[in-house]
């Protein structure tokens, strides 16, 4: 079994990275060669013009900033609320719980296309259409059900006895949650943060439909500007995509340690 480990890892890496490499290759290929040298491994002539255009001439730095603000805020908000909500779902049996679970599940099953118009109206009503605040609110609402289920699973895998022990020792439930349970659930929190951040970072449809102003635009919507009626500016699109991957990778590298951290030994004995 062990012998297969490294070939598998290499296989996964190749599969994952090859398309990204291909996009990178496109991003440094001059327009003229894009098709005539479509399938070579490396273009005969390299250009950094596309990156220059994206970073300097376009508004991409603004788009990235907006995306970052929206994503981080959404991730944090969702995680906070889901930590609380998931806890309730995991630890309590109460009337209406099943109905609630069903409703939460239901929210995931409807195609977003159908709710865009009603949500647009809601946001217009509170003057938050065409604002990143509007996006934050909407993204938070849509990511909450799943994040909640996720935290619930992680709580389910964490013994209740620990909190109960702490509460017997005089903690309130909230304190027990904070001091005892959450540290054990850090992988779950990390996963939730990472997941929601990326979901918000790469979300397109809402951003495209709600945002028109350049000052509030996120980068997926911004990339669509490269697609005009007449042409697709592949080089710049690819450059923008590569640039957009960097913050996400950094974010993941940062929260990696949460996901990697497991239960500390001695918890049961303490």
């Amino acid at each position: 079994m062990k012998i297969l480990k490294y070939p598998f890892i290499i296989g996964f890496l190749t599969f994952t990275l090859f398309p990204v490499f291909w996009m990178f290759k496109i991003s440094i290929t001059p327009d003229r060669l894009l098709y005539s040298e479509g399938i070579v491994a490396w273009p005969s002539n390299i250009t950094w013009d596309h990156y220059y255009a994206v970073l300097v001439e376009g508004s991409f730095p603004d788009y990235f900033l907006n995306s970052f603000i929206v994503s981080i805020t959404t991730a944090a908000l969702v995680t906070i609320f889901a930590v609380l909500g998931g806890y309730a779902l995991s630890r309590f049996h109460f009337q209406g719980k099943v109905t609630l679970l069903i409703i939460l599940l239901l929210t995931q099953m409807f195609p977003i296309v159908m709710v865009i118009a009603p949500i647009y109206n809601v946001l217009t009503y509170i003057n938050l259409v065409d604002s990143i605040s509007g996006l934050i609110l909407v993204y938070t609402a849509f990511n909450l059900p799943f994040a909640c289920f996720l935290m619930q699973s992680f709580y389910d895998g964490t013994p209740m006895e620990l909190e109960e022990a702490a509460m017997i020792d005089g903690c309130t439930r909230l304190q027990a949650l904070e001091k005892v349970t959450l540290p054990l659930c850090l992988p779950g929190i990390g996963a939730t943060l990472g997941f929601v951040f990326t979901a918000a970072w790469s979300e397109l449809l809402f951003a495209l439909m709600f945002i028109s102003r350049q000052s509030q635009m996120t980068f997926p919507a911004g990339i669509m500007n490269f697609v005009t009626k007449f042409s697709v500016d592949w080089g710049q699109m690819a450059a923008a995509m590569i640039l957009a991957l960097i913050p996400v990778c950094l974010f993941f590298a940062y929260i990696q340690k949460f996901i990697v951290q497991g239960l500390t030994a001695g918890a049961l004995k303490g």
């Binding site: 098709y35 479509g38 604002s131 495209l208 500007n225 042409s231």
Partner: protein, 427 residues
């Protein structure tokens, strides 16, 4: 941790509240709002310059622009309108017009046009194109005319001495070029947006640019229409168009042309901007669309125009803005940049490239053998027909799942039903 989380939430809610109460969306509700839908970066710059001139000429009037990107413009605009954000002036493509007019959203410009003077050489049918029934709802800012672009280099390599003039020559040229390795003759537009080619070939083979007879029956029932579909079906089936082109949209056909995957392209002059950047200009040339058996051909003429929204509270100012944008100098600037057939006919020769690149379009406007074909844009379901049904059934036909005869009949049935309904409602 709990305290930090709590404070964070408060801060976020504070920011949200601030945007909700104090953000004015960078727009003054007293300004005119113009929405462009065929957006590209440099054109937006040109529009802004023309708007600035308008503001200078009309102190007290200011104009804001919303630029929607083309791919989602239709959806976004409908939502904006449904959400109560009504623009004053809108860039209106021909195939959207009927939908908005039948929903009562577009202002009738007939009086405005009657009271405004346009230059004498304005193309006589301009206002007719922008009308539905007797009312003028949009004024075209230029026409998108189709011609056949071809790659001179590939033609030379295949030993073709002169570009195709008739349908038969089109077929044979496509066949000959496809003998070159890795190259196909015709860049077929099999995906969304390709309907106009089918309409061209069907009407041309029919010998008439009419879509319907007086009773509302579609001309696609005629043998000519079936022959036209058979011709393009054969071109694809025999491999004279790239196998991939079944799915090709606008971008793929253009890139197919400049990557020299295929040698002939049915396009409007605005494609030239992108082509010039990616190809040697010396390789590009154009001719009018091939002639049918009647000795005539009916290249498609599309347009985009300026319309005013019915619900706009500033209609007078909006009409003024439209008039400004269509003034000769502004119009010339605009049409030149986009390669449009201008609405003032004397400008045509100035706008189209002299020489081989623009020859196709120029000749189409001047030579009597070529007459324009306009889509039945008055039908409110034409947009959906164009972009979904024609595409899907066209693909089915190319793949051999349906015959050209069945396909033509299917389209004829739909169009006839739609036309008869329209005639009923408007008599």
């Amino acid at each position: 941790m709990i305290r930090a989380a709590f404070s964070f939430v408060i801060v976020v809610l504070g920011f949200v509240a601030w945007q909700a109460f104090f953000d004015d969306k960078d727009r003054d509700p007293n300004n005119l709002l113009i929405v462009e839908v065929n957006t590209s970066a440099d054109r937006t710059g040109l529009l802004r310059a023309q708007l600035d001139r308008f503001e200078a000429d009309n102190p007290g009037l200011k104009v804001d622009v919303i630029s929607l990107s083309w791919g989602q413009a239709f959806e976004k605009l409908s939502m904006m309108v449904a959400g109560g954000q009504i623009p004053d002036v809108i860039e209106m493509p021909d195939f959207w017009l009927a939908r908005y007019v039948s929903a009562g959203q577009i202002a009738d410009m007939s009086d405005f046009v009657a009271n405004t003077g346009f230059d004498d050489d304005i193309e006589p049918d301009t206002f007719k194109y922008g009308s539905i029934g007797d009312k003028i709802y949009t004024i075209p800012y230029g026409y998108y005319l189709r011609a056949l672009l071809y790659n001179k280099k590939l033609f030379a390599r295949a030993g073709i001495e002169k570009p195709p003039l008739t349908m038969d020559e089109l077929y044979q040229t496509a066949a000959k070029i496809s003998e070159l390795p890795g190259v196909s003759g015709y860049c077929h537009h099999g995906g969304r947006g390709g309907a106009v080619f089918y309409y061209w070939i069907m009407t041309t083979m029919n010998g008439s640019n009419a879509f319907f007879d007086a009773e509302g029956n579609s001309t696609f029932y005629n043998q000519g229409a079936i022959d036209g579909l058979t011709l393009i079906r054969d071109i694809y089936k025999n491999g004279y168009a790239p196998q991939d082109s079944l799915n090709w949209g606008f971008n793929e056909t253009v890139s197919g042309f400049y990557s020299e995957t295929c040698a002939m392209l049915h396009q409007t002059p605005d494609a030239l901007n992108g082509l010039r950047q990616r190809m040697d200009e010396g390789d590009i040339a154009s001719i009018p669309m091939p002639l049918g058996p009647s000795g005539k051909s009916f290249p498609h003429l599309g347009y985009i125009g300026w319309s005013v929204f019915e619900q706009s509270p500033k209609k007078e100012a909006a009409f003024k803005l439209v008039e400004h944008l269509l003034k000769r100098e502004n119009h010339q600037e605009w049409a030149t940049r986009a390669g449009l057939v201008p609405i003032y006919s004397e400008l045509a020769s100035e706008i189209f490239d002299q020489g081989e690149i623009g020859a196709g379009w120029l000749q189409s406007t001047q030579d009597d053998r070529w007459d324009y074909m306009i889509n039945p844009n008055h039908l409110s379901d034409i947009a959906e027909f164009d972009s979904i049904q024609v595409v899907q059934s066209g693909q089915a036909m190319m793949l051999g799942e349906k015959t050209p005869e069945e396909t033509a009949k299917m389209w004829a049935d739909f169009l006839t039903a739609s036309q008869k309904r329209w005639l009923n409602n408007h008599d």
